[in-house]
């Protein structure tokens, strides 16, 4: 089991993320780069002495973005822009993103028009998951991005600096994978809500520091004795940019364990390592092309859907009994994918429940839906 004081460090890193970034700047004299979406190759920025931090919304109702983004775009992109317009991210020296979804790209473009930044970079990233074919172009793009970072920061990214950054990020990924591995246990030692806090906080912190925290967690966590706690229904959480740990906590409070996820702010962020290789840029390209697909990218030149296979493997490996699919209201990439995935799970004999998310969490509705879902699973 995990101690609350161990987990509270991650929780407070999320709550104090802006302060953390400001202090990091003061302490190191380095620049902070905000980025959208998990296809952004943080390793390159880190190797240039920059702290990459993920831009997220604040789960507070707002109207600031109404003038810039239509109300029927997802609340994540609208709310993230609002944070920029409000000045919450005034400490950012630059913003960047790798191409994913058109809606978040709109937030990025609006940000550039209205929030002053010294630096910005938009990295093209193919939508088709076909790494052999697209790798050369992605390598070229990564090389250009590296050059642009060097110009901006005045820091040359040496091959060893990049290799070190890759190793640092890979270490973090290995730690998170070890943590996830423990959730395969009959009574997982860490909850889904706590796990989200751990993963999410890693997007705001210097990995040197975060990796130490993770090491500490791994040294002090043990798979509990199943006799001490009755095993509970095992859920997988599948979705997009939800980053409110309140949601998994609330689901689990209904008497279930979230044992695995396929979420932007969860396993999709860290799942695969940058492979070993002589050319670090080629290795980076491979990692980002082969990472578990976001719905926007789950298209191949021909027919296969990579997500289907990946999710079924996760469900099998983690002994999943039910899938909760969450999506941001108005997120058409998720909406385009869900019926297919629901059918996939149905054929595998795994029931699903869909929750729609908005800026703030509709607690009552989530409770009712999850309770009903649990009852149907328990009846079966």
């Amino acid at each position: 089991m995990i101690k609350q004081e161990t987990i509270s460090r991650f929780r407070s890193a999320i709550e104090n993320r802006h302060q953390y970034a400001r202090q990091w700047k003061e302490r190191t004299g380095g620049k902070v780069l905000g980025y959208f979406c998990c296809y952004f190759p943080e390793e390159l920025a880190y190797a240039a002495g920059v702290l990459p931090v993920r831009i997220v919304s604040n789960h507070e109702p707002q109207e600031l973005s109404n003038m810039h983004i239509p109300g029927f775009f997802c609340s994540f992109c609208r709310d993230a822009l609002a944070e920029g317009l409000k000045g919450t991210y005034e400490y950012l020296d630059g913003i960047a993103m790798a191409h994913t979804c058109r809606q978040i790209a709109q937030a990025y473009e609006s940000w550039l028009r209205h929030v002053p930044v010294d630096y910005h970079y938009y990295l093209p990233m193919p939508a088709l998951a076909d790494s052999d074919f697209f790798r050369p172009w992605v390598v070229e793009e990564l090389g250009e991005f590296q050059g642009s970072l060097e110009n901006w920061t005045g820091n040359k990214v040496s091959p060893s600096a990049l290799e070190n950054a890759i190793e640092l990020y890979n270490t973090g990924r290995r730690h998170l994978m070890s943590l996830y591995e423990m959730r395969k246990a009959e009574t997982p030692p860490i909850s889904g809500g706590e796990t989200m806090e751990v993963v999410l906080s890693s997007m705001f912190c210097d990995k040197v520091e975060h990796n130490q925290w993770l090491q500490n967690v791994l040294a002090n966590i043990s798979v509990g004795d199943p006799a001490q706690r009755r095993p509970r229904t095992r859920f997988m959480l599948v979705g997009g940019e939800d980053h409110d740990p309140e949601l998994p906590h609330l689901i689990e409070a209904q008497g279930a364990d979230i044992v695995i996820d396929d979420m932007c702010m969860g396993s999709r962020y860290f799942w695969n390592l940058v492979p070993d290789g002589k050319d670090p840029l080629a290795a980076l390209a491979t990692r980002y092309l082969e990472k578990p697909s976001c719905p926007v990218k789950d298209i191949s030149a021909t027919m296969d859907r990579a997500r289907q296979k990946h999710l079924l493997n996760l469900a099998r490996d983690y002994g999943v009994e039910g899938v909760i699919m969450v999506y941001q209201k108005f997120c058409d990439p998720q909406e385009l994918d869900m019926p297919f995935l629901i059918q996939t799970f149905k054929e595998a004999g795994i029931p699903t429940c869909v929750l729609e998310l908005e800026t703030t969490l509709a607690r009552g509705q989530v409770q009712t839906r999850v309770q009903a879902f649990l009852e149907t699973i328990e009846l079966e």
Partner: protein, 437 residues
């Protein structure tokens, strides 16, 4: 002032060509012709090398469904029933619904032999759209990735364009190899080259028609232009299309020379930011009563030109101007890729800064009194940048009207509300009702 007005002769021909296209589509299976389903943004001239084929294109099929509200509703509901959310593009939803129900504007839903897509990354729906069609129909599928680049400056440097030419060419080559294997046909490079030549000429001709709309009074309504565009949209790479646009251009030139107007009492001119959804066209007709004419749109112009390096809009350069037309497959593929990247025919999906610059250019050179923008819930790709464009225009003192709607889902469209907002907008500009047309 009252202008002379008369119906456009080419209009009926455009309608006839469209009707013939759908007759061919509907009979393709029976008559053994190759039918390919795909998005309108797919470079269809590529398929011309396969020999005779018909295209079942998503957006025009969706538009045709939208023209029949009962059918549109039934199709949208059939897709809802399969669990797809209302935020998915309305064209996608009614197209899928038509496929699920085997119902369409001309009877059933014709079974394609294969499905293709250009996932143009500004709109992630394209790839999934035809992937789903292929899965449902049990036919092979091929998707091309079109890169999205946002330049660090306002415009894309030539070096970036050149970097991505091989990216697209390699995928086009892959498509050709794939198409040969699934159709068993041998790809004919001469047909590709000739299709490209026709396509470029139709683009140039159409671009010139768009430019003629700068004339006061405007020779055409935007709604007429949308109809005239159909052959270009459906098979702009055929000789017939080129012949048709020669006629259109001649007739429009004639109208300009004789001062023949689309609207007899043209008193105000407006630009349309993107594409008016089919189901909003009726409501937009209300503008006529105020002597207001829509002279063009980003969408219609994007089929004949794009943003130039100085941030203005310009007609696509004809091969004659470039000195040499492509002679073989390699040159043709490079040309398709280059122009798609350079002067993106998907102008509507341009980076925001391009879009805004072009909006100013349209207002200035097309002598517009304002801009109408539509937040089309059924077509998110097209709404990107609309509100930022409005802010920029408004800050420059250019009047703007924003209305809401849907490309094809009648449940998301409120014509009364559109009419009311037009009325207030017209009043705010001092335009009174009382049309002579």
């Amino acid at each position: 002032m009252t202008y002379q007005t008369k119906p456009l002769e080419c209009f009926d021909l455009a309608k006839e060509l469209r009707a013939r296209h759908y007759r061919d589509v509907m009979s393709s299976n029976e008559e053994g012709r190759l039918l390919i389903a795909g998005g309108n943004s797919f470079p269809w001239e590529l398929a011309a090398g396969l020999g005779e084929f018909e295209s079942l294109q998503g957006e025009p099929w969706g538009g045709a469904i939208a023209a029949q509200p009962d059918l549109a509703l039934a199709c949208a509901e059939a897709t809802d029933a399969r669990g797809y959310g209302r935020d998915v593009c309305a064209y996608v939803r009614v197209f899928w619904g038509s496929m699920f129900l085997d119902r369409g504007p001309w009877g059933g839903f014709p079974k394609p032999a294969m499905a293709v897509a250009l996932n143009h990354t500004h709109c992630g729906a394209q790839g999934k759209w035809f992937q789903t069609v292929a899965e449902h129909m049990g036919v092979p599928y091929f998707c091309i990735d079109y890169p999205r680049m946002l330049p660090s400056g306002p415009l894309l440097p030539e070096s970036k364009v050149l970097q991505y030419v091989p990216y697209l060419v390699a995928q086009y080559e892959r498509f050709i190899e794939w198409a040969e294997s699934v159709t068993g046909r041998e790809y004919d490079d001469e047909k590709l080259v000739s299709a490209l030549l026709h396509k470029r000429r139709t683009q140039v001709l159409w671009g010139q028609v768009c430019e003629l709309q700068q004339h006061v009074p405007a020779p055409l309504h935007l709604r007429t232009m949308l109809n005239l565009m159909m052959p270009k949209l459906l098979w702009g790479f055929r000789r017939e299309a080129e012949d048709f646009y020669v006629q259109v251009l001649d007739e429009v030139k004639e109208r300009v020379a004789q001062g023949i107007a689309a609207l007899a009492d043209e008193r105000a001119r407006f630009w349309f930011d993107f594409v008016p959804s089919y189901i909003s066209l009726g409501a937009l007709k209300y503008l006529d009563e105020f002597g207001a004419v829509l002279v063009g749109s980003l969408y219609t112009s994007s089929f004949g030109g794009g943003c130039l390096d100085d941030g203005t809009w310009g007609v696509v350069a004809p091969f004659e101007e470039l000195g040499r037309a492509p002679q073989n497959r390699g040159e043709a593929l490079r040309d398709i890729a280059y122009w798609d990247l350079k002067r993106d025919s998907r102008l509507n999906m341009y980076p925001l800064e391009y879009k805004i610059r072009c909006a100013f250019d349209f207002v200035r050179r097309w002598k517009c009194d304002g801009v109408i923008l539509q937040l089309n819930r059924g077509e998110k790709g097209g709404c990107c940048g609309a509100l930022e464009t409005r802010l920029a225009l408004r800050d420059a003192g250019i009047p703007c009207l924003v209305c809401e709607g849907s490309a094809a889902d009648p449940r998301d469209m409120d014509p009364v509300q559109v009419k009311n907002s037009i009325e207030s907008f017209m009043e705010s500009l001092g335009l009174k009702q009382g049309s002579l047309s």
